[in-house]
């Protein structure tokens, strides 16, 4: 499935050079605390990079506390991190294999449905 274009409510921030895409990663709520207070980071990725590849780059920028909580030991996004690419939840695209084309990726922690 093709990655949708940037939604109207995101700041236009995509720049595509010859071999990189630039992605603005917005951290929400508790993730900001894990990232030492950062609200957003800008990451440049090689063209063709997937959402999964973004995880390591974000972790490097946000520090070990963030990595410990948001990623698995193997460096994958933890299932409890909700990831939206240009406004669409990753599960509606190709999941962690979604190819990035710039724009905005939002990360947030949503409450877990615990039961009755």
């Amino acid at each position: 499935m093709a990655v949708p274009p940037e939604p109207a409510d995101t700041v236009a921030g995509s720049r595509i050079a010859a071999d990189v895409v630039t992605v603005k990663v917005v951290l929400m709520g508790e993730l900001r605390r894990w990232a030492g207070g950062k609200r957003e980071v800008e990451v440049q990725m090689p063209v063709g990079s997937t959402l999964q590849a973004l995880a390591g780059r974000v972790a490097a920028l946000c520090g070990p506390g963030f990595a410990q909580r948001a990623l698995t030991k193997e460096g994958a996004w933890q299932p409890h991190v909700a990831v939206f690419i240009n406004g669409v939840q990753m599960g509606e695209l190709e999941g962690t294999k979604t190819v990035l084309s710039g724009g905005q990726v939002e990360l947030m922690l949503l409450p877990t449905y615990e039961g009755g």
């Binding site: 030991k73 994958a76 299932p79 999941g95 949503l110 409450p111 877990t112 449905y113 039961g115």
Partner: protein
């Protein structure tokens, strides 16, 4: 009105249409909405006459209940017209808070109420958002809005349930092994159902208003129903066989079943195990996978060419399930061999000693179940071949309410897995695993090729997955979530940590609690004082309320809430409109207000939006709501604007279903029905992921927890972080064997009560009075004889934390070592005069403390150790 949106097969679904005069009036006179008398959320039609609710019936157009309705649904009218309901904000004037202590309520204005909450929220956000704790129950938009709050401000505490057992293992295990949320059998095709500690298909659980007729039709067709339960309840009454099982022994039963299947009759789904699970993954002496040294991928032995390969090697043709191999200089065996060896430790004779289920019965049931599974068979659904495994071992509340909950439920669930009976025709299904429309969402494989991310988990919800789990670290949270790497939630620990913060090094204290209507103190934990002490420690407890229950008596501010007949919500039924398992249609059903609320009662969503505005965070909630609600242009929420609840609803519906299907369309039609594809209906073999039968990651997670708790000076037995299930006794089991107690108290559900909200309803109360076991407690005639107790006598039930008086119902329909306690009665709140003093509050009998909790899931042991005497 039914609409098949995708324009394909327009043949209407078969629904039950109650006959008689009710359906002779035009549809337009009945308002379609959703019942909220329990968590199921059946579709209903409501008749209004002269501005008052005159009748409530089931809505034939929703697949959830197809026109049927239970006693609770009908009696919802009386909840709505509860003479004791709250219609004005209140604040406490009595600074002393406690069980049975009068709060000294004083009516206040909405302005004072909203400003009180807003001011505290401003302070908490400025100090540390972890001082905010939100508790919700139910499916209304109030819950979604409170979830937005915790996401925005960064509080980790959103408790989306109440019970000390609910969701502890079932949601974790479902995501882990099938990708969905909850579970139910494919009744339309199931031929053999074992209900283990659940009354699904007869009296309780999800959607039982379709499950009950579906199960009945299945039984007419010849499905065998076996109930394994300490209580001979409604389900046992309908069963072909009832196997009374000693409480806390489900793991032994499950392992016994596995032993017969794997080692005696040798019935299991080889193809499924080889190619769709990690049964072939090689494990070394340290119980961990043998991994490729370069890629770290788990290795398997390919019988087709005798080569050791990674799980995703394109040439892997025939993974070995048996044998022993030397890999990287070490002895390695397929995980399946280890599973068989573990099961072999549970011969039926040993299982009989533990469970009291005769060995011959276990052997026979296991063989029957295995043979009924039709391993290797295929069925054709809409021209597509799908595996046919018409058996289901269903489990839920009973087995997951134990000190060793994870092992009890994992052992039971494995019985389904080894037969390949998950998410296929006739088998147990994981609800809402995958969706193609209107929101595409499929679970996917992650590390080690195993299912890692759940599929459709509902907009607005996250997923604390049990795989691969989270590395443990020193906790900062008041629920010690960091010490339970595979748990879905750990709310059970909150009162414990509040009692002993220094023991756990938790400096954070919760200062603001906001809760929806619900009865946390009666149903959430055990020992009442521990719970009350926690609420007393909170600066400001704010509760939305329809009636003032026992939990509200610990509030500081009460905000009147509408009943479900006065409230709008995007979400209708449970699980974000989970389709019925295997069914050809999906649907979306709404909740809408049928009558306006009384003067003084406001829409909780509008109240919260005002609070968020005053707390200065409203604009920050919009980006989160845009994502959580799945809003798309041009329906996105813009900064600086304010929206009413109705506007939010309209945008959600149009974003999801298109401009034509906004809130107005849904208000008129109530439910939208659409067709499902075969892969959505039976996703099992369409998942591109393996599922685990061996929990290798438990080894490492357990080691990590051990290191952390060691540094903290805690002495925890972490041996349960074992890749394979094991039975372990709980303390009440041992006490009973030693004769230190008379019986184990076991809770069970009634279909006409739910949670702790039903008994104040005069119609439900009348039912409970007329059905004598509702307020009474079941005592086996042998125990009664020993104690000189006759039917109807007053008795004392004494646990280590409480002594209660009850009415004995002497019966054979309970395990001889068990006292059966039904429903959620035993109320004391002044706001529930009809309920006070009737029945027993089961949870209040439960000892509470870390030693009573499952070290993996934090489920609270629901075996109540009891001494029984005549009063």
């Amino acid at each position: 009105m039914v609409t098949l949106l995708r324009g394909r097969d327009t043949r209407p679904q078969t629904v039950h249409r109650p006959g008689g005069e009710r359906h002779e009036s035009p549809t337009a006179e009945w308002v379609p909405t959703t019942c909220r008398m329990c968590l199921v959320g059946c579709g209903i039609l409501v008749k209004v006459e002269n501005g008052r609710v005159a009748n409530v019936i089931g809505n034939p157009d929703t697949p959830k209940n197809r026109g049927r309705m239970c006693a609770k649904g009908k009696s919802g009218i009386m909840n709505h017209y509860n003479v004791n309901r709250v219609t004005t904000p209140l604040k406490r004037t009595n600074p002393e808070k406690g069980i049975g202590v009068d709060p000294g309520w004083q009516p206040i204005s909405w302005e004072e109420a909203i400003e009180t909450v807003s001011a505290k929220l401003r302070q908490v956000i400025a100090d540390d958002p972890r001082k905010l704790y939100v508790q919700t129950w139910g499916l209304h938009d109030l819950r979604t809005l409170l979830g937005v709050l915790t996401t925005v401000v960064g509080s980790p505490y959103h408790q989306t349930g109440i019970s000390g057992t609910c969701g502890k293992t079932i949601h974790s295990i479902q995501f882990l092994t099938a990708g969905g949320l909850h579970q139910e059998p494919d009744f339309a095709h199931c031929n053999y159902l074992i209900d283990c500690g659940t009354q699904i298909g007869v009296a309780t659980r999800e959607g039982f208003n379709h499950q009950v007729p579906d199960c009945a039709r299945a039984r007419e067709r010849g499905m065998k129903l076996v109930v394994v339960d300490p209580i001979g309840n409604n389900a046992a009454a309908k069963a072909d066989e009832w196997l009374p099982i000693r409480p806390g022994t489900d793991a032994a039963f499950g392992l016994g079943m596995l032993n017969v299947l794997l080692n005696e009759v040798k019935i299991y789904d080889v193809e499924f195990l080889k190619h769709h699970t990690n049964a072939g993954y090689l494990a070394g002496p340290n119980k961990k996978y043998v991994r490729d040294q370069a890629t770290r991928k788990p290795l398997l032995y390919d019988l087709s060419d005798g080569v050791v390969k990674a799980y995703d090697d394109a040439t892997l043709a025939d993974p070995a399930l048996e044998g022993e191999y030397v890999v990287q200089g070490e002895r390695a065996r397929p995980a399946f061999v280890l599973l068989k060896e573990r099961a072999a430790q549970y011969p039926p004779e040993r299982v009989e000693e533990i469970t009291s289920i005769p060995a011959a019965t276990l052997r026979r049931i296991a063989r029957e179940f295995g043979e009924a599974a039709r391993v290797g068979a295929m069925a054709t659904i809409d021209g597509v071949e799908v595996p046919y495994r018409p058996v289901a071992l269903e489990w839920c509340r009973g087995p997951q309410g134990h000190k060793h909950a994870w092992h009890h439920t994992w052992a039971l669930h494995l019985v389904n897995l080894v037969l390949g009976a998950i998410n296929v025709v006739g088998s147990l299904h994981s609800t809402d695993t995958a969706k193609n429309w209107p929101v595409r969402n499929w679970p996917e494989a992650g590390e080690d090729g195993l299912l890692m991310s759940g599929g459709h988990i509902g907009r607005g919800y996250g997923n604390n997955s049990a795989f691969p789990g989270r590395p443990a670290h020193k906790p900062e949270r008041c629920d010690l979530f960091e010490l339970f790497p595979v748990a879905r939630h750990t709310r059970t620990f909150v009162p414990e940590v509040a009692r002993h913060p220094d023991k756990y090094g938790i400096v954070q204290r919760v200062e603001l609690v906001i809760h929806s209507p619900g009865n946390q103190i009666m149903g959430g934990w055990g020992e009442l004082q521990a719970v009350a002490d926690w609420y007393r420690s909170v600066d400001l407890v704010v509760g939305f309320a329809v009636e003032l229950n026992e939990t509200h008596e610990l509030d500081d501010v009460v905000l009147p809430a509408p009943t479900y007949l006065e409230e709008d919500s995007f979400t209708g039924t449970h699980g974000d409109d989970s389709p019925v398992s295997g069914e050809a249609v999906g649907f979306h059903q709404i909740q809408q207000k049928v009558v306006p609320p009384p003067e003084g009662v406001r829409d909780p969503v509008d109240v919260l939006l005002e609070v968020y505005h005053r707390a200065g965070i409203l604009d920050e909630t919009h980006p989160v709501m845009n994502r959580v609600f799945g809003l798309k242009a041009p329906y996105l929420l813009e900064p600086g604007k304010r929206y009413s609840h109705e506007e939010l609803l309209d945008r959600q519906f149009k974003s999801r279903y298109g401009e034509e299907f906004g809130w107005g369309w849904f208000k008129e039609h109530g439910v939208l029905v659409h067709k499902r594809d075969v892969d959505e209906r039976y996703p099992g073999r369409f998942l591109k992921a393996r599922v685990p039968v061996y929990l290798e990651h438990f080894v490492e997670r357990g080691e990590e927890v051990e290191a952390v708790v060691g540094e903290m000076g805690l002495s925890w037995d972490l041996s349960e972080y074992d890749p394979l299930p094991e039975w372990r006794s709980c303390e009440p089991f041992v006490q009973l064997q030693k004769g230190e107690i008379d019986a184990i108290g076991v809770h069970y559900k009634l279909p006409y009560t739910y949670g702790a909200q039903g008994n104040a309803n005069p119609w439900i109360d009348e039912l409970c009075e007329r059905l004598p076991h509702s307020y009474g407690v079941l005592i086996h005639e042998a125990l009664a004889r020993r104690k000189g107790i006759k039917d109807g006598d007053a008795v004392w039930l004494e646990s280590p934390v409480r002594r209660v008086k009850a009415v004995a119902r002497v019966t054979q329909m309970v395990h001889p070592e068990v006292v059966g306690i039904a429903g959620h009665a035993g109320h004391w709140a002044q706001g529930k005069p009809l309920s006070r003093g009737k029945g027993v509050n089961f949870n209040s009998l439960l000892p509470y403390g870390p030693e009573k909790m499952d070290v993996i899931s934090t489920a609270l042991d629901h075996c109540a150790p009891l001494k029984v005497s005549r009063a």
